[in-house]
């Protein structure tokens, strides 16, 4: 074999996609999706029933959520959600200390898994009051499976704390990543990595805002976790592409920056697509087999992976070409 690593033959394969020639199209697509996402976030904020960019779930608003697995052997007894909410509305709760009694006039009742399980969302109840609700519902919706119930109660103050700590950790993670990249690369790269990151986070939030508007989907603390993971993943993806671009520019090549960026993106394209693919596989397994608890969490992560790959293959490197004067 011959040693063929001279610069002239360094790129045996030709460009697989010439990013800079279609950078305007890339920007248009990204801008359009970001605008649609922002519209979703704003309309959710303007919606009188939500009043927030995303529909906050129990974790953030506080309240009690009761899930009951029904005995369905051989088949579940017929059940209408309205029958359950009527029972709850009539219920007189036991008093707890000096606290005012929670109002049960608007319970939210959902039947999941073809009526096999029952989900109740109520204002914040004490432990004893939660048990009273379960006992009251049993004659209508029971019998329930032994050991198949879950009761989550979150006080309103805890919900606020959770929201606060999620936001703070998101910002701290952003800042930490920015500092690291400016240290390892330079500020230009750090700025673009953050642009790509903001792009990914806004789009995933936007999709969930639209889901909240149309399907009443609520975001919980797991969604905040998903956002943070997307942040880490998106930067990871972008950094690999940037690493290649830096490697090329440091070799002192006299090719124009646009071409160097194109070459770097082409060289990392397989890697980015393979990595996204292999990350998506376990996530899709979670979506299909993971059960209801992790369902939307896995979907948020999967969306983040897809959008993150786009921003690191297309958006971030194409923005980098802006720094070079056009005629160069």
């Amino acid at each position: 074999m011959v040693d063929a690593s001279s610069p002239a033959t360094a790129d045996v394969r030709q460009l697989r996609w010439s990013l800079s020639s279609m950078r305007q199209r890339v920007w248009l697509i990204s801008a359009a999706v970001v605008v649609v996402s922002l519209i979703g976030l704003v309309s959710s904020w303007l919606d009188p029933t939500i009043r927030a960019p995303l529909r906050p779930g129990l974790d953030f608003t506080g309240g009690t959520q009761i899930q009951l697995e029904r005995q369905c052997d051989p088949a579940c007894a017929d059940l209408k959600a309205i029958a359950v909410s009527n029972v709850i509305r009539e219920l007189a709760l036991p008093k707890e200390g000096n606290a005012p009694l929670p109002q049960l006039n608007a319970p939210r009742v959902q039947l999941l898994d073809a009526g096999q399980s029952l989900l109740l969302r109520l204002p914040t109840l004490s432990a004893a009051q939660g048990q009273a609700v379960i006992q009251a519902v049993e004659p209508v919706a029971g019998p329930f499976k032994d050991g198949g119930q879950s009761v989550d109660t979150i006080g309103p103050s805890l919900g606020r704390q959770l929201l606060q700590s999620s936001l703070v950790s998101l910002l701290v993670a952003f800042a930490g990543i920015a500092v690291y990249i400016s240290f390892r690369y330079d500020r230009r790269y750090a700025f673009l990595a953050l642009v790509a990151l903001a792009h990914d986070v806004v789009i995933v939030c936007g999709i969930f805002a639209w889901l909240g508007l149309f399907f009443q989907l609520e975001v919980d603390s797991l969604f905040a976790v998903a956002l943070l993971t997307i942040a880490g993943y998106s930067v990871n993806d972008t950094v690999v592409v940037f690493d290649r671009i830096r490697e090329r520019t440091q070799q002192g090549s006299d090719l124009p920056l646009k071409l160097q960026v194109d070459q770097a993106v082409s060289a990392t394209l397989t890697r980015t697509l393979y990595t996204s693919g292999t990350t998506l596989m376990p996530l899709l397994a979670l979506v299909f087999f993971g059960g209801s608890t992790l369902y939307w969490f896995a979907i948020a992560l999967a969306l983040g992976v897809v959008v993150g790959s786009w921003s690191s293959i297309a958006l971030a490197p194409s923005l980098l070409t802006l720094w070079q004067p056009q005629g160069d």
């Binding site: 033959t9 432990a127 119930q149 993971t229 930067v235 950094v239 397989t270």
Partner: protein, 495 residues
Amino acid sequence: MARYQGWFAFVLALAIAAGMFLLRTPLELGLDLRGGSQLTVQVQPAGDITRVGSEEMEAVKAVLERRVNGLGVAESTLQTVGDTQLVLQLPGEQDPTRAARVLGSTAMLEFRAQKPGAEGDLRSLRQLRSQVRAILRLREDQARSGDPDNNDGIDFDQLAEAQKLFGLDGESTSETDQLQQLLEKVNGEIVQQFEPAALTGKDLVTAGRQPLQNNPNSWEVTLSFNSDGAEAFAELTKSIAGTDRLLGIVLDGQAISEASVGPQFQAAGISGGSASISGNFTAEEARELEVQLRGGSLPLPVEIIEVRTIGPTLGAENIRRSLVAALSGLAFVAVFMVVAYRLPGAVAVVALSLYALFNLAMYALIPVTLTLPGIAGFILSIGMAVDANVLIFERIKDELRRGNTLIRSIDTGFSEAFSSIVDGHLTTLISCAALFFLGTGLVKGFAATLGIGVLLSLFTALTCTRTLLRFLMGYSGLRSPNNFLPNSQLPTPSA
């Protein structure tokens, strides 16, 4: 070559050690995986204390710990979370009602002497109280036996009047709730008829309980004091012995019972340092009060801000589902890697299995309590671990396409991929650190497993994969570039 054989032996030994360790040490499962109850308690500032410091937290925790032990739930744990919160975990407990009641109240026990001249008010208040209690007991019996409501001997006019007096009219709650509210108001009003506390639960040594001799359905709680308490109790009883004034027993601002002290104690008071409270307790109520009094009173009030209960079958279901997801995800990835990268792909699958094994061993070693989000973090970290391998193999392919020799391509591939692997892993680690140190509960569990995963992935990709690959390259039969790339993509040697 000997260097790689040394490494190979090291990796092998590590894998065996991890496997052995895992067999001996079972993983700790969170409540969402094995069922149970979790209560979060917020300690609140009160009185002179405007900020809850670590000393106050210690004091509150000590009291709650004694109460939790009194509950007798196996393997219960109480941990401080953040600056002002405590988390109690009760594995297997399906009904946290009792735990919530026992934890939530301050249990401030006081003994007070009646104010002189308050006999008249006190008599009518106590009479009202016993009437309300009687109705409540009656309703309970009726509910239990299923008899229709029987209103014999209930003076509804008097009750209505009393309710109006305490400002309780017009609330649309059930009869029982109205009576309970009235009872609270009356008990609070009775406390007003007494002097400030002469003796508190601080001087209590221990508490017990026993059924009353004349009525086994009614229980009393027995108390014994230390020497200071015994002295104060003797002093207090001496001051009211033989008069019309009563001894009041107050718990958390509510009068629970009053007693008269006979004239025979006029000289020395009731000495010996023991007393009993018979406040019309059921067996269960007496037990709870005993547990609370034994634990001592809380130095600061607490509020229960979070209760999570999950049944054991739901927990088992969660384990099953996430296992299926993790295994099928891994299987897909394994097939993909072998198809895409041939021999190194197979090596990566072995390295990834080792990675999964090391991860689990780390969870057992640290130990990390495994929760559902924790498992999600683990599954996601597999994706990151694969990424490192993909980066390396792509570089190796690039080098081979340039016509480099196999061994040189492998070495260059690893060293070229190194910087992007480290950068990528470190940025993920930064978000993990932010999540772990600033997040709470579920978020922490996720950050912990993802962070451990990322660190281990650095190790397995840079040592395990490399060692295995170099080790296999010792066999000439495997040393063909065709095991890495299809022949069509290799440059022709004549170039």
